[in-house]
């Protein structure tokens, strides 16, 4: 850095401060994004972002990872404040005071043209203190409510159950407040009003300091402590802080691993046998229940009333054949060479010989085949009885 730059630039933020700010950005932004998409999960934009992150469960994991990083950053911040205060012995500059209230009133008066100049302010203006303490308050609240959301069972062991949904409402409400405050207050003061790069570069020009933090320039600076004194304080502070940080980190570890809230698979409330047919159910193929029960058990002689025709001639037998046999044993389609279409055809028989042996139904194939049952075009018992009687009577044509 050139000598002129040194003469006009004043160190405002140490490397540690600047890193803390970077850590703040890198946790706040992902937390805000992954949190907002959960709060407004119904919107298309949220769902697009959720998909981008690999689904809602991933979003929740990302949110929690950054929450843990933020909490670690808080532990670091506490150490940094302590170091400044107790080792370097730098006076408090962020603490709220009556002077801030006065400065706020005077700024208001200036803005309302009741005053000609802005009130001179110190290292941190009241506007900056508002932002810092909002952040502190917000972080405490988010950590506390976040704990309840992360560990609802543990939370409900101590607190009433309704604290969990209340914590959810507060976590979401505070998040919206914080995000809007950053977008309005923070962006106005360090980006819009004029771009204040000091948190990144670490330096402010003398002019800027004179305009914004004049009291910081005129503040009495205590003599820096001697090297021995510094070493002595550091040797006292570092172990103490380390112990405190260790306890806090254990606390964070507990925070993130406290409970397994839920099991991974839901067991169904009921588990009936999916397929449990009613025993009386009939097979669908059986046309009706009656058919199904009678069809397989019915011996044809037990239920059929036998009525032998008075006129046992072709005139009464022919129609039986016509109704049940001619499809296969007709004049045009003589299955097995047999036609039962006419009296003469019937007597002539088929390839296997005569179907009808007049006077001897016992050797007539037409009877033996039908009485054996199961022939397509099965005659019923009454029809077979008539056929038998007709053959017995010599199978007369007329």
């Amino acid at each position: 850095m050139s000598s002129t730059a040194e003469s006009t630039s004043i160190l405002r933020f140490t490397v540690s401060d600047r890193l803390e700010h970077i850590a703040q950005i890198t946790t706040f932004v992902p937390l805000a994004v992954t949190g907002l998409v959960q709060r407004y999960a119904g919107s298309g934009l949220s769902q697009g972002i959720i998909t981008l992150f690999g689904g809602i469960e991933s979003v929740r994991i990302i949110h929690r990872v950054f929450a843990a990083i933020l909490m670690v950053a808080v532990v670091y911040h506490l150490g940094a404040i302590g170091y400044r205060r107790f080792v370097l012995n730098i006076p408090r500059s962020m603490g709220p005071s009556l002077a801030d209230l006065r400065a706020a009133g005077q700024t208001l008066a200036y803005n309302l043209r009741r005053r000609d100049s802005r009130p001179p302010q110190g290292r941190y203006t009241f506007e900056e203190k508002i932002e810092y303490w909002s952040l502190v308050w917000g972080t405490v609240l988010m950590v506390a409510t976040g704990f309840l959301l992360w560990n609802p069972i543990a939370g409900a062991k101590i607190l009433p159950g309704s604290f969990i949904p209340a914590a959810r409402a507060a976590h979401g409400g505070e998040a919206v407040l914080a995000i809007l405050a950053i977008l309005v207050w923070h962006f106005y003061h360090v980006h819009l009003k004029h771009f204040n790069k000091s948190i990144f570069t670490g330096y402010m020009t003398l002019e800027e300091m004179e305009s914004e933090h004049p009291l910081a320039l005129t503040m009495e600076v205590a003599d820096p402590p001697s090297q021995d004194e510094l070493r002595h304080r550091r040797n006292r502070y570092v172990p103490l802080y380390s112990l405190g940080a260790f306890v806090l980190l254990i606390g964070i570890w507990l925070f993130v691993s406290f409970e397994d809230t839920a099991i991974t698979t839901i067991e169904p409330l009921e588990s009936p046998a999916v397929y449990a047919p009613i025993p009386t159910t009939t097979m669908p193929l059986a046309t009706t229940t009656t058919m199904a029960t009678t069809g397989s058990t019915l011996p044809s002689t037990t239920t059929t009333v036998i009525v032998i025709a008075e006129d046992l001639t072709w005139a009464s037998i022919g129609p039986i054949f016509e109704a049940k046999c001619l499809m296969c044993h007709g004049a045009t389609n003589q299955t097995a060479g047999l036609s039962l279409a006419t009296f003469n055809d019937t007597i002539a028989g088929g390839n296997d010989g005569p179907g009808v042996v007049p006077g001897d139904p016992g050797t007539s194939m037409i009877v033996t085949i039908q009485e054996a049952g199961g022939h397509p075009g099965q005659l019923d018992a009454n029809e077979i009885a008539n056929l038998r009687a007709w053959i017995d009577a010599g199978a007369p044509e007329k």
């Binding site: 769902q47 159950g161 209340a166 999916v274 449990a276 097979m283 193929l285 069809g295 499809m327 099965q378």
Partner: protein
Amino acid sequence: MDTDRNIDSDLNVATFDRPDGPRWAARRSSVRRLTAGAFALIACTALLMLAFDPGGVASAQDDARFNNDTCLSCHDVPSLEVPLPSGETLNATVDSDTYAASVHGQLELPCVLCHTDIDGYPHPEVVAETLRDFAVERYTSCFGCHQDQYSATVDNVHARARAEGNSAAAVCTDCHGAHDVARPSHNDVDITQTCRSCHSEVYDLYAGSVHGAALTDGNTDVPTCTDCHGVHDSQGPTDTNFHLFSPQLCADCHADQELMGKYGISTDVFDTYVSDFHGSTVVLFEELAPDQETNKPVCVDCHGVHHITAPTDPESSVFKENILSTCQRCHPDATTNFPAAWLSHYQPSPGKTTLVFVVRLFYRILIPVVIGAMLVYIIFDLARRGRFHRKAERVQHS
């Protein structure tokens, strides 16, 4: 989301080719549509070829081989039996009166319209090993006339079970019957009885539920099997997206103000579910990752599935005294206070879950007040700065 609750409207198969109801149909993938379309095209072509074939269906009534009387001349006879390799007996008897009374019989549809493999006698040999195989073999001919209904079944829960080797899974004829097929009655009780024939254990649970008991009392507002599971495109709990989608099935009725008004039941149940942790997760999974499981519960996981009872019923899993053990099914470590973390479907109000109401109200006031104050400050600050700059410019110019 389709909120039409009349899923049973797709039972109106008054004529051929009536598409299935919108609910599941809309959820069918286009690939499946294409498959079904191709299937339909092939079948239509086949039917057309049959129509131009002189021995085909068009001339069925003229050709004795395709005349129902011809078929019935054999098949109307009892004890027409075909032994199967399984030892079962295929009863090939058709009661002509039963068929005549069926919806197909009333239309005098020829037997061969369904029995497409028959074109005379002797018939082709029965290749089915079991009665069930025969039924599964034969039901495919339903597609010839009922393409849409049939196509809707090709990817349903039964078809998938069958594809996995469970031949007992229902085919068309199991629900509709075969030779005794009747017009669907659309009667809620009939529907439950049809499903009961295979799912008797599920039916018994349903019959004891608040829905089933009301149906027994003649109340048809309640859901029957098909209202939740669909008709031809029936879905079941083995479908991941069925579980995820199920809250919307419940909402179809339980978010219906008119319907719920009749019974004094709150219609907030769906919205309150979705606005909380479980519901928002389930909806996100349903919309973004329907093929994935989540361990977050849906309605039935807390309330019960088929055996669902009113929350006021001491038997109910969400009855006040039972709710902790219901929570513990997923949250084994939950204790007495834990169930109150869930707002029991109440919108936060001064009377119910006061704390949540107060927190929400607090942020509803705090956010606009704080952000508003910041904006007011910024506006005054900008105005003053603008004036200051103009003044400064004037001073410079003079």
